[in-house]
C-alpha cells in the first residue's frame, strides 16, 4: 500500500517537474489568479498552459470521478499531489467556488443529468460560479431569506435580491437559495437553484469594502426566468443542501487562508524591525510566537480533519476549523500591521513598500473571515449544539 503510494508520488513528481512552467512556481500575483469562466483572462500565458495540462490530467479536481473531469484519486493520493505541488511551490491551477462548494454538493445530491451538465465545466474552468445566499435581512439567520421563486410551468420566476455575492460581477452563474413556499416554517420553504447571471432581469452592483476592493456584489433579480430543471434536490428541500454546501465552504476557507502566513509574519517583523540586526522587540516577538504556534496548530487540525473525514461530527467540525481560522487570521492581520510600524500604515503611494500596502489590504479584508460563510457566532452555536449537545432554553 505504502509502496504503491510512493510509486504514485514518484510519478507525480516527475510529471510536475516536466509540466509545471517555471513562472507557475512563483508566488501568485493577484492579477494572475486563474478564476476561469466565460471571460477568463490569462495575462501570463503560462497560467493557461498550466491550467490546460492540469485539466488534461484531471488534477484540477483530483478526487472527482473521471467521467466528470476528475482523476478519481484517493484522498491519500490527492494529498500526495498537494504535497508535491507545495514542494515546488506550484500554483493552484484553478480557483473556483465550483470546485470547492458547488461541485461536492452536486456530486452528492445532483441528478446524473445535472452532474454531466455542470461538473465537467467546473473541472475545466469553463464556467465561473458565485454564491447567492445572504440577503440584507438574512445574514446569520440565513433561513429567513425572502428572495422569491414561483414555478410558472417549465420555469421559475425569481424576484428579490442577494448580498455578499463574491465577485458576482465577474461570474457566469450563481447557485442561489430562494423561497418557494412562504407559508411553510422558514427552513421548509427554501429551494436551491442554479442559473445564468446573464439572464434578463439580473442586476449586479459591486460593494466597496473597507479594504478598498469590491470582492462582493449586491445582486437584484427582477422577474428572472430560470428553467425548472435547474433545481437541485427537491423543491422546498433546499435547506439541507445549503447547509452541506456551507460545510464545504468552511473547510475551504480554513484551508486556503492558512498557507505560509506565519512565515511571512516573522519575516515582516524582522524586516521592519527598528533594530539594525532585525531583532524583534520582545513583547511583539512573544505574541508572534504565540500566534505562530496557533497558526501551525490550525494547519495540523486541517490535516487531521481531512484524515478523519469519516468522523460522525465531520460536518460540524468544519465550524471548529472556521472559527479557529477566523480568530487566528484576525490576530495575524493585527500583528502584521503592528510589526511593520510606520511602514504598515500606508494606503497607497511609492513611499510604502508594495508588500506592506498588500498586507494592509489583507488585514482589512481579513476582518470578513469571521463573518462570511457563517459568522463565528453562528458557528459557535453549531459547535455548542451539534457537537457538545448543549440544550436550548426552555420556555
Amino acid at each position: 500500500m505504502a509502496t504503491e503510494l510512493e510509486r504514485f508520488r514518484d510519478e507525480v513528481r516527475e510529471w510536475l517537474e516536466l509540466n509545471c512552467p517555471a513562472s507557475m512556481r512563483t508566488p501568485m500575483v493577484d492579477s494572475e489568479i486563474p478564476w476561469g469562466g466565460r471571460n477568463a483572462k490569462f495575462p501570463n500565458p503560462d497560467t493557461k498552459l498550466w491550467l490546460d495540462r492540469m485539466i488534461e490530467k484531471g488534477w484540477t479536481v483530483p478526487t472527482w470521478p473521471e467521467q466528470y473531469g476528475g482523476a478519481g484519486l484517493s484522498i491519500e493520493q490527492a494529498q500526495v499531489l498537494e504535497q508535491e505541488m507545495e514542494k515546488i511551490n506550484a500554483r493552484t491551477p484553478l480557483f473556483s467556488m465550483g470546485i470547492f462548494m458547488l461541485g461536492p454538493v452536486l456530486l452528492e445530491l445532483g441528478t446524473e443529468e445535472q452532474k454531466q451538465r455542470f461538473l465537467p465545466d467546473i473541472a475545466r474552468g469553463k464556467r465561473r460560479w458565485c454564491q447567492g445566499y445572504s440577503e440584507p435581512g438574512a445574514g446569520s439567520d440565513l433561513a429567513s431569506l425572502s428572495t422569491k421563486a414561483e414555478l410558472r410551468g417549465d420555469h421559475y420566476l425569481i424576484n428579490g435580491s442577494k448580498i455578499w455575492n463574491s465577485e458576482a460581477d465577474q461570474s457566469d452563474w450563481i447557485f442561489c437559495l430562494v423561497r418557494t413556499d412562504f407559508d411553510a416554517p422558514k427552513h421548509k420553504g427554501i429551494s436551491f437553484l442554479l442559473f445564468d447571471l446573464d439572464s434578463p432581469g439580473v442586476d449586479r452592483q459591486p460593494i466597496k469594502l473597507i479594504s478598498g476592493s469590491s470582492v462582493f456584489c449586491q445582486t437584484f433579480f427582477d422577474d428572472v426566468k430560470v428553467p425548472a430543471e435547474n433545481l437541485v434536490g427537491e423543491e422546498n428541500a433546499g435547506w439541507s443542501i445549503a447547509k452541506r454546501l456551507l460545510q464545504y465552504e468552511r473547510q475551504n476557507v480554513g484551508k486556503h487562508l492558512n498557507k505560509s502566513f506565519d512565515i511571512k509574519l516573522w519575516d515582516l517583523a524582522k524586516k521592519y524591525s527598528s533594530s539594525a540586526d532585525g531583532q524583534i522587540e520582545p513583547d511583539l516577538r512573544s505574541r508572534i510566537a504565540r500566534q505562530a504556534i496557533q497558526d501551525g496548530a490550525l494547519g495540523l487540525l486541517i490535516e487531521r480533519l481531512e484524515r478523519e473525514a469519516d468522523n460522525p461530527n465531520a460536518g460540524s467540525m468544519s465550524s471548529v476549523m472556521k472559527v479557529a481560522m477566523a480568530d487566528i487570521n484576525l490576530q495575524r492581520g493585527e500583528l502584521a500591521i503592528e510589526a511593520m510600524g510606520a511602514a504598515g500604515l500606508g494606503w497607497q503611494g511609492d513611499e510604502f513598500p508594495e508588500e506592506a500596502l498588500g498586507e494592509v489590504r489583507v488585514w482589512l479584508r481579513g476582518k470578513a473571515n469571521s463573518i462570511e460563510g457563517g459568522t463565528s457566532e453562528v458557528n459557535l452555536n453549531i459547535i455548542a449544539k451539534r457537537i457538545l449537545g448543549l440544550p436550548d432554553p426552555q420556555h
Partner: protein, 371 residues
C-alpha cells in the same frame, strides 16, 4: 487653572455641539471622498474663533490659561466624530512644548501666534519604523549665533499644512537631544497616503537656519523636554482615542438594539451582551487612567510619565478590541466602505502606532517602575 465641574460640563457641551453641527463623521467622510487627504485646516478658523487653540495658552499671551483637562474635553469630542484638526498638534503639543521651556521672546511670541490662530505646528520626531524618540540622526549645529538644522523625519501628523515643526535633533559636539521650532519655509514635505486619510508627511530639512531661541530648553530639567512633550502628546492622543472608542462602542450598542435575526434583537443574545459588557468595563478602566493622567499634567505631578504610558497602552488595547468588535457585531454591513466602522478601525490603528504602540508603552511602563 482648571474649571469647576459645572463649567467643564458647559465647555464640553459646547464642544459637542460644534462637532455635531460642523464636523460630524459625515463631514470627515465627505472630505475623504473629495480630496487627496483630509486636512484639518478646513474647519480651523471656526475652532480659532471658539478660542480652542489658546485654551492652554496663558491669559497674558492671549489664551484662556486653562489646563489639559479642559482642552481634552474638546479633543475627546473630536475623537468621537473623527474630526481632523491641528488642535492636538498645535493647541496641546506645541503649546505644551512652548510652555514647558524657559520663556523667551521667541516662545512667548509663538504662544501668542498659536492663541490667535496664526500658527499651526506639527510634531516631527520619528525617523524609523517604530517609535524610538531617542534614536535621532537629525543634527543641529551652531553657526554664527544661529542653529543649522539637518535631517529627515517621517510620518509627521498634520505635516502638509503646518506652519512650523517641532523637531528633535542631536546637538553637535554634545550627546544631547534638542527640541527646535522650525518654520515650514524651506522644509520639504512629501505627503503620504496613510489609511486614516489624514494629512501626514515625510519631511526633510537641509541646513535650515533658525535663531538661537528656537532651541527650547526645559525649565524642569529632571526629564528631557522631548520626553515631557511626548508624554503630553501621548495623553492627548489617548483622549482622542478614548473618544473614538466610546463612539464606536455606542454605535455598536445602537445596532445591537435594532438589528433582528432569528426573530430577536441581536442585543438580546447573552453571548453578545457579555461581550458588550466587557467592552464597557474596558472603557471605564481606560477612562479612569486617562482622567488620572490629565489631572497629573495639570498638577505637574511626577507621575506623568508613568500615567502617560499606562494610558496610551491601555487605551490602545481597548480601542483595538472595540474597533474589531464593531465590525464583527455589525456583520457584513460593517465591512462595507459606506459604513463608519471602517473609518474607526483605520484611524484607530494609526493612533495606536503614534507616539509609541501599546507594546512600547508596556515596556516603558515596566522600566519606569524599575523592572
Amino acid at each position: 487653572m482648571n474649571l469647576d465641574r459645572e463649567s467643564q460640563q458647559i465647555f464640553q457641551d459646547s464642544a459637542r455641539d460644534w462637532v455635531l453641527n460642523s464636523a460630524p463623521i459625515s463631514h470627515f467622510r465627505h472630505q475623504r471622498d473629495s480630496q487627496p487627504y483630509v486636512s484639518g485646516r478646513e474647519l480651523w478658523q471656526e475652532q480659532v474663533e471658539l478660542g480652542w487653540p489658546g485654551i492652554m495658552v496663558p491669559e497674558e499671551l492671549g489664551g484662556s490659561g486653562l489646563g489639559m483637562q479642559e482642552l481634552s474635553l474638546v479633543i475627546e469630542q473630536m475623537g468621537r466624530s473623527l474630526t481632523a484638526s491641528p488642535l492636538l498638534s498645535t493647541g496641546l503639543i506645541a503649546v505644551s512644548a512652548l510652555s514647558l521651556c524657559e520663556q523667551t521672546d521667541f516662545s512667548r511670541s509663538r504662544l501668542t501666534s498659536i492663541a490667535s490662530g496664526e500658527l499651526t505646528v506639527a510634531l516631527a520626531t520619528e525617523e524609523g519604523n517604530h517609535h524610538a524618540p531617542h534614536c535621532v540622526s537629525a543634527t543641529a549645529r551652531q553657526h554664527e549665533g544661529q542653529w543649522l538644522l539637518n535631517g529627515r523625519k517621517i510620518r509627521v501628523a498634520d505635516a502638509n499644512s503646518a506652519d512650523a515643526f517641532l523637531v528633535s535633533a542631536k546637538i553637535e559636539a554634545s550627546d544631547q537631544l534638542g527640541v527646535f521650532l522650525l518654520p515650514a519655509e524651506g522644509v520639504s514635505v512629501t505627503p503620504l497616503a496613510i489609511f486614516d486619510s489624514r494629512e501626514h508627511g515625510n519631511i526633510s530639512f537641509d541646513a535650515i537656519a533658525v535663531p538661537e531661541q528656537a532651541l527650547l530648553v526645559a525649565r524642569d530639567s529632571s526629564t528631557s523636554l522631548l520626553d515631557q512633550i511626548l508624554d503630553r502628546a501621548r495623553i492627548g492622543l489617548a483622549v482622542e482615542m478614548l473618544g473614538s472608542a466610546n463612539a464606536a462602542f455606542e454605535m455598536t450598542l445602537d445596532y445591537l438594539k435594532i438589528r433582528e435575526q432569528f426573530g430577536q434583537l441581536i442585543g438580546s443574545f447573552q453571548a453578545l451582551q457579555h461581550r458588550a459588557a466587557k467592552m464597557y468595563i474596558e472603557l471605564e478602566l481606560a477612562r479612569s487612567v486617562v482622567d488620572a493622567a490629565l489631572l497629573a499634567v495639570d498638577e505637574g505631578s511626577t507621575e506623568i510619565p508613568l500615567l502617560a504610558s499606562q494610558a496610551k497602552a491601555l487605551v490602545g488595547d481597548t480601542l483595538n478590541h472595540i474597533t474589531n468588535e464593531t465590525i464583527q457585531l455589525h456583520g457584513g454591513i460593517g465591512m462595507t466602505d459606506e459604513h463608519d466602522a471602517g473609518l474607526f478601525i483605520k484611524r484607530a490603528r494609526v493612533t495606536e502606532y503614534l507616539y509609541g504602540s501599546s507594546a512600547f508603552h508596556r515596556d516603558r511602563y515596566a522600566r519606569l517602575r524599575g523592572f
